[in-house]
């Protein structure tokens, strides 16, 4: 796989990052301590380079109708300025990717515009699938992933940090920005798309910016963030944060072999929308059969009784019989005990159920618990 480098690679190197390959990208895994980075996001703020994520613009008179057909959610229903979590599925209901889609203001009369954000490793596949699905619609699908950087500021101090870079007359745009909404603001003297979204379970922002300008913004954020406890955070912290927040990771919890109902994402699928969409027939049948509720497997949270953590692909057992598999797991830095996500047979998926996880030959008890593991105080 070709190694891609984000526009912030030099910044990461200078900060002493250890790198890892993720979705074909060389990304910072951690800078000094992934635990310190994790705690910084929970208590103060962390700065993330998410430039490996994709950015696909969908523009045209049919943009809304097209996305209703291409994705599982009802994207035509989102208001301008708002965003929605959605899935792009195969005809068999398998998940090609999970996405955030932003509805942007109409660039001209009669034309709608959306920004679709797929995961790093899926960006090309999603862009190709959207193009293919666009054939009979009046839309332009423009994959801007290669030119666009994405910088996230996450944590309770994120808003205060952003406000130091946004002119006073725009402060209300930031403070009044709702979760899953986006607005154009001037940051560092440049108009940028600022979204109140994230993957950490904390308040926070994601900023879309042309590659050329990304290093300047990164350094400006680090500088003004210093007094607010902001430190750069890598993918290791991102993973532990999202796991505590009970958020699925494509490749772990989600794949082409998993459907939305088993993954607990049933509400993301709009079987009720008027238009047909790819995967609808299969998903309707899967739902009608009771997959994820009365038959098959379901994604659950597990809490370890001991100190040893369950890891991805470990077997979940009940009375010695195989009933499922862990998809993500590690010691929770915030909670202090091991947490995991696992697919288990629905009959063992009730919170309070005690199951065993085979930890390299030795079974340890885990309790099925409701998700998320961690919820911030508002």
């Amino acid at each position: 796989m070709t190694e891609n480098y984000t526009a912030l690679y030099e910044q990461h190197k200078k900060a002493g990052a250890s790198f890892t390959d993720f979705g074909g990208w060389q990304m910072p895994l951690k800078y000094e301590s992934e635990l310190a980075e994790h705690h910084a996001v929970r208590k103060a703020a962390g700065l993330f380079d998410l430039s490996h994520m994709g950015e696909v613009w969908v523009t045209g008179p049919d943009a809304a109708a097209f996305l209703d057909f291409a994705l599982a959610g009802k994207l035509s229903a989102i208001a301008v300025g708002k965003a929605k979590y959605s899935l792009i599925c195969n005809a068999d209901g398998g998940i090609i990717d999970d996405l955030i889609t932003y509805r942007r203001p109409s660039p001209e009369e009669g034309v709608d515009q959306y920004l679709v954000v797929p995961n790093a490793g899926n960006a090309k596949v999603v862009a190709a699938a959207l193009l293919e699905r666009a054939a009979r619609f009046d839309v332009v699908v423009d994959d801007a992933s290669a030119e666009t950087s994405l910088i996230a500021v996450q944590g309770p101090n994120a808003e205060a940090i952003l406000l130091t870079l946004v002119p006073a007359e725009q402060h209300a745009l930031v403070t009044e920005l709702k979760y899953y909404a986006a607005v154009e603001v001037s940051i560092n003297g440049q108009d940028l798309l600022l979204a109140r979204t994230g993957y950490t379970g904390e308040d926070g922002f994601e900023i879309y910016i042309p590659n050329l300008d990304a290093p300047g913004l990164w350094e400006a954020l680090l500088e003004v963030g210093k007094g607010h406890g902001l430190i750069p955070a890598g993918l290791a912290a991102r993973d532990s944060l999202r796991l505590e927040a009970g958020m699925p990771l494509y490749g772990n919890e989600l794949s082409r072999y998993v459907n939305a109902y088993a993954a607990g994402l049933g509400p993301v699928v709009s079987l009720a929308k008027e238009s047909d969409f790819i995967g609808k027939e299969a998903l309707a049948a899967i739902k009608a059969a009771g997959v994820g509720s009365t038959i098959g497997q379901k994604l659950v949270g597990l809490k370890g009784a001991g100190r040893r953590a369950a890891r991805a692909h470990y077997s979940v057992l009940k009375d010695g019989s195989l009933i499922g598999e862990v998809t993500s797991g590690q010691p929770s830095p915030t909670l202090g005990y091991p947490i995991a996500l696992a697919y288990v047979d629905v009959e063992h998926s009730e919170p309070g159920t005690i199951v065993d996880v085979d930890l390299r030959g030795k079974s340890e008890p885990f309790e099925v618990v409701p998700l998320p593991f961690y919820k911030r105080q508002k």
Binding site: L29, K30, E34, A236, D239, R308, P331, R360
Partner: protein, 127 residues
Amino acid sequence: MSKVVAELKYSAEHEWVASDGGGPVGIGISAVAADALGDIVYVDLPEVGSTVTAGETCGEVESTKSVSDLYSPVTGEVTEINDAVVDDPALINNDPYGAGWLFKVAATEEGPLMTAEEYAATNGGEL
């Protein structure tokens, strides 16, 4: 660059061995291994009085990101374990060659061990 201490000997599995003039040998993991593991949050050590065998697993070291088996670099009886590191595994990251030592063995035999130079050369560690 992860530090490699010149006075110690090293196994291919990244354990270090400190000889102490005929007494039990001290054992820990190298900074190279500690850095690669990330922040260590749990360590499982052999019991005092148990026998460990060179090249065989005798415990595990778990970080937020991964878990690794601990291989004994020597054969013999475990005479002491570092309780401080069990209580605070972060000592391994902070001071892998000092306060982060793991256990001591009355060694009757050593597994294949490398000099610090040889070990550093295999993984780009810094002497």
